[in-house]
């Protein structure tokens, strides 16, 4: 786990490139405090800062081939590196015991064809001095980030946006269209970023910069075919195989030469991960939970019970409103891009790092793969209603939608979006993850940003791409895919990366494993999802290791007592953020409408709107921070 950067330009002298790279590494230092390095070759300069996990002593980066032709900077972990190393050993004289050299050897020999062989999370930049070509790629779900901006016949790339800003090679201007996208989705979906001209290399994509300066970006990974011959013959066979596949991915994700711990919330996903780690032989396992003083939202008790039953060394990180308020500046600086989520990961990562582990496993992805979210229950109902709804005369439909858009309840306004825009499973799945209903979003935007939002429309920008990928998929696969490819990728994984890296912790997500997902994806929905919300497949497959009370416990969505904090400890921050002077510095927003949003939240006792108010506050505060920086 590291921060990587690169500058390729035939026009910039080596000194200028080295200088820019040094500034970029300094901006990413928190991602890798153990080591750093820079290498220059022709028009390219690569740099990195390293969090040493595998072969800490020898596997330094940037890593170069002995003949000096190939150079690599790599962020992430390749879990099958030992197997790949055996395959490559005939043509490469390995001098380290790490995954970086395996990646270097594989790319040197096979080029981008090596990508599908990788099992892990990664973002890398690979320079071929002979071909004067840069190859960069991201893992299938984008667990590790990679951003870039074009230079004349070249580019600058980095693990974080702040590093691109530190390079001073690209003007970081906020794009009003991206502000509009953020208000819709809680994040700016790839390939856009908040900044004009800065691209988020989409998950499962690679880019190639040729000697003549031409850039070619292509997708190298997509979800497996919806139905394949790999399907289990019976449900019993499915459960038996699921248990083996789960054990396999957990074993793979424990590969490290430093202490490995786990996040444990007391829910089924994280408990299953910890239980399988224990079953795989992890002794003296440290687990970490974020707790609150509000017993209705705190998961302290179930997490404690799980830890006791599984025999882990359990640590609780108590988070209070005062603590969040006192750390809000650090949290905002850690964001890298605005997000309406992720504060819990910030504190859990701090606890894990302070607790002495450098790597932690998380149960992220279980809800998306095993049908834990309400969307798996709600969308089929909405889909059944779409047919009769379309039979209603258009004028009456319009009147009903307008009425719902004016309603005070956010739920009604969201229903208005479904009724106005959804035409099939894909559009239902896209809209159910919207933060602000379309009418509210447009009202909060300045005329310029509103024009951009209207041009982009209410739908997710990746709609066409997902439709093409999921043409023969069944409804549960469509819902799963949308959860995996939008909210999980753009919000949960991004937040997990920046907040774990803010504390120099490597967070691993064993459910989001290409090998595991390739096997699970084509299995019949009735077995994989079962009754929506229960994650019965996961519960049944881990019945021998997960305590019964956890398996029977109803899913409780992870909730911070944020609404209460916003009314008390965080109020001064919010008052300042929503002040006229502050909003005047955000020309993409319609200041009176934003103020009204905050005043409405303050005035009423209704807490259901807190996440929308918080998402807007984060955007405003982030933009102020970015300007100040």
């Amino acid at each position: 786990m590291c921060g990587i950067v690169a500058v390729v330009s035939p026009f910039l002298p080596a000194d200028a490139r080295n200088d820019a790279v040094a500034h970029m590494i300094a901006a990413e230092k928190h991602r890798g405090p153990d080591d750093q390095g820079i290498v220059s070759s022709g028009p390219a300069t690569l740099g990195m800062c390293r969090l040493a996990i595998i072969d800490p002593e020898k596997a330094r980066q940037p890593m170069s081939s002995i003949d000096g032709r190939f150079h690599l900077v790599f962020n992430g972990a390749i879990y099958n590196f030992r197997e790949l190393r055996r395959e490559l050993a005939g043509g490469w004289n390995f001098v380290t015991n790490g995954d970086t050299e395996v990646l270097l050897a594989g790319l040197s020999r096979h080029g981008e064809k090596f990508l599908p062989r990788l099992r892990g999370m990664f973002a890398f930049a690979f320079w071929d001095a002979h071909e004067r070509m840069l190859l960069a790629a991201r893992d299938p779900f984008g667990i590790k980030p990679l951003y870039f901006a074009r230079l004349e016949d070249g580019l600058v790339l980095a693990s974080e946006l702040r590093a691109l800003a530190a390079s001073r090679l690209h003007a970081m201007e906020i794009d009003p269209a991206s502000v509009a996208e953020y208000l819709a989705w809680f994040s700016v979906p790839a390939p856009r970023t908040l900044y004009r001209g800065v691209t988020n290399l989409a998950p499962g994509h690679r880019m190639r910069l040729s000697d003549d300066g031409r850039l070619d970006v292509r997708r190298w990974w997509q979800l497996p075919a919806p139905r394949s011959s790999e399907r289990a013959a019976s449900q019993a066979e499915f459960e038996r195989q699921l248990r083996l596949e789960l054990a396999d991915t957990i074993r793979a994700h424990q590969v490290a030469d430093v202490p490995v711990g786990a996040f444990l919330s007391g829910g089924l996903d994280s408990t299953a991960v910890v239980a399988l780690m224990r079953a795989a032989g992890a002794d003296r396992l440290k687990t970490f939970t974020v707790t609150f003083d509000d017993p209705t939202t705190s998961e302290a008790e179930p997490a404690r019970n799980s830890a006791r039953a599984l025999g882990t060394e359990h640590h609780e990180e108590r988070v209070t409103g005062e603590r969040v308020a006192s750390e809000i500046g650090n949290i905002l600086r850690a964001f890298d891009a605005p997000t309406g989520d992720g504060i819990n990961t910030y504190f859990a990562a701090a606890a894990a790092r302070n607790g002495g582990v450098k790597v932690a496993l998380s149960g992220l992805g279980g809800d998306e793969l095993f049908g834990g979210y309400p969307s798996f229950r709600d969308l089929p109902r909405l889909h059944r209603a779409l047919g009769p709804w379309r039979q209603v005369p258009r004028s009456l439909r319009g009147a009903i939608v307008r009425r719902l858009q004016r309603a005070s309840s956010a739920r009604s306004r969201k229903l208005a979006d479904f009724l106005a825009y959804a035409r099939d499973w894909h559009e239902l799945a896209a809209l159910q993850r919207r933060v602000l209903p379309e009418a509210n979003r447009l009202a909060l935007l300045s005329p310029d940003a509103r024009r951009q939002a209207e041009r982009l429309g209410p739908m997710h920008p990746s709609l066409d791409e997902f439709v093409a990928e999921l043409l023969d998929a069944d409804p549960d696969q469509i819902i799963s895919a949308w959860e995996l490819r939008t909210y999980m990728t753009d919000v949960l994984l991004r937040d997990s990366d920046v907040f774990s890296m803010a504390h120099s912790l490597e967070l691993r997500v064993p459910f989001i494993d290409p090998k595991f997902i390739s096997w699970l994806w084509p299995q019949p929905a009735a077995w994989r999802i079962g009754r929506p919300g229960t994650k019965s497949a996961l519960a049944d497959a881990t019945a021998d290791v997960v305590p019964a009370e956890i398996r029977r416990r109803r899913k409780q969505g992870f909730t911070l007592p944020f609404a209460r904090w916003m009314r008390r400890e965080l109020r001064p921050f919010l008052v300042e953020t929503f002040s006229s002077a502050s909003l005047a510095r955000c020309p993409w927003l319609e200041a009176p409408a934003v103020s009204q949003l905050w005043r409405d939240f303050e005035r009423t006792a209704d807490n259901r709107n807190w996440s929308r108010v918080w998402a807007v506050a984060v955007l405003v505060a982030f933009c102020q921070e970015a300007r100040a920086a």
Binding site: R150, D424, D464
Partner: protein, 359 residues
């Protein structure tokens, strides 16, 4: 075999659908075999003897009826002619339910639909669903359109959805003499061709205008010529003024075929960063002049424009659009290669493909 072509319009308008339906008429007549008979009924055309028709018809065309927008007359002719027809080729989804009704009068009749693009990318009414499910084949203008039809009608047998890409019109292309000059170092002359109606604002002409200042930072002499007219024109002119590029944007209005070919020949790059093109015939026309094309990564455009013959940008991403223009100036695409790509979508290949599909 007796075939009936049912169309909304063929010679009355110059939009993409009308132009491709002319090609269908030409290809059907040209590939007709001994004893084949072709008839046509057109809803919106007023003159059955439009002078342009002679360039597209042939001896096999026995009947051509223009209904002058009279729907009842149109329906009557469709029913009348369908009774002695083996196959109907329907030029627009809106007319397909009528064709299905006509099938009730002639049980040996089978029918096909030409699916152009945006008109089939949506849920279907009950009548349309029935008509679609009864079609012997659906001729989709692009793979993208085929996918959209599968999306909104999953029960449709995928084997009936056949991709028949649009093609260059040899009648129009014959009037042009392709010419290519190096792109001027201080900035390219961009051309876009589109209806400028508010309903078609997805064509992305406004995004081109907004990208112009960014391109001009690097290439100050860059100019944009906008061909087409419609009720969105005042908004686009205001936008050009607001972006301070009025002096660099020329609104040329509607051009006839000859003038349009001259406009293609005179430009350096062609651009239509549209979100909803079923295919984008204008790209082919520009490519036949050896011009590199800039399109949006949306709809059927990526099936026509790729990195070899142009560049793609994300829809409505202004900086991406500007970067794509810069890329095309810095790395000019080979005019010969571009022309060859256009030729691969030539009329002969289209006619042959159509003949194969229909037999």
């Amino acid at each position: 075999m007796r075939m009936l072509l049912v169309c909304p319009e063929v010679f009355r308008a110059d939009g993409g659908i009308a132009r491709i339906l002319r090609l269908y008429l030409k290809a059907l007549c040209a590939t007709a075999r001994e004893g084949d008979e072709i008839a046509g009924v057109v809803l919106n055309d007023s003159d059955a003897n439009d002078p342009r028709r002679s360039s597209y018809d042939g001896p096999a065309l026995k009947t051509w009826v223009a209904c002058g927008r009279r729907r009842l007359v149109f329906a009557w002719h469709v029913f009348r002619l369908a009774r002695r027809t083996d196959r109907v080729i329907c030029g627009h989804l809106h007319q397909l339910p009528l064709v299905r009704l006509a099938q009730k009068l002639n049980s040996r009749l089978n029918y096909c639909l030409i699916a152009h693009g945006i008109e089939v990318w949506r849920p279907y009414s009950r009548a349309e669903r029935r008509a679609l499910l009864g079609a012997s084949c659906i001729l989709c203008v692009s793979e993208y359109t085929r996918r959209q039809m599968q999306r909104f009608l999953p029960e449709l047998d995928g084997r009936r959805l056949v991709v028949v890409p649009n093609a260059l019109d040899p009648v129009v292309q014959a009037q042009a003499a392709p010419a290519v000059f190096p792109i001027p170092a201080d900035g390219p002359r961009l051309l876009t061709v589109s209806r400028l109606s508010r309903a078609d604002s997805y064509k992305g002409v406004d995004t081109l205008i907004e990208a112009l200042p960014l391109v001009q930072r690097r290439y100050p002499a860059t100019r944009l010529r906008v061909v087409g007219t419609g009720d969105d024109l005042p908004r686009l002119q205001e936008l050009a003024a607001a972006c301070r590029v009025s002096g660099s944007v020329e609104f040329s209005g509607r051009l006839d075929d000859r003038q349009l070919q001259a406009a293609y020949a005179a430009c350096d790059l062609f651009a239509l960063p549209s979100r909803r093109e079923g295919f984008g015939l204008v790209f082919l026309e520009a490519m036949s002049h050896g011009k590199a094309c800039l399109g949006a990564r949306a709809g059927g455009i990526p099936e026509v424009v790729d990195d070899e013959v142009g560049a793609l940008a994300d829809y409505a991403n202004i900086s991406d659009l500007a970067a794509a223009v810069t890329d095309l100036v810095r790395h000019p695409r080979s005019p010969d290669l571009i022309r060859r790509r256009a030729e691969s979508f030539g009329y002969e290949a289209f006619a042959q493909r159509l003949r194969t599909v229909l037999t």
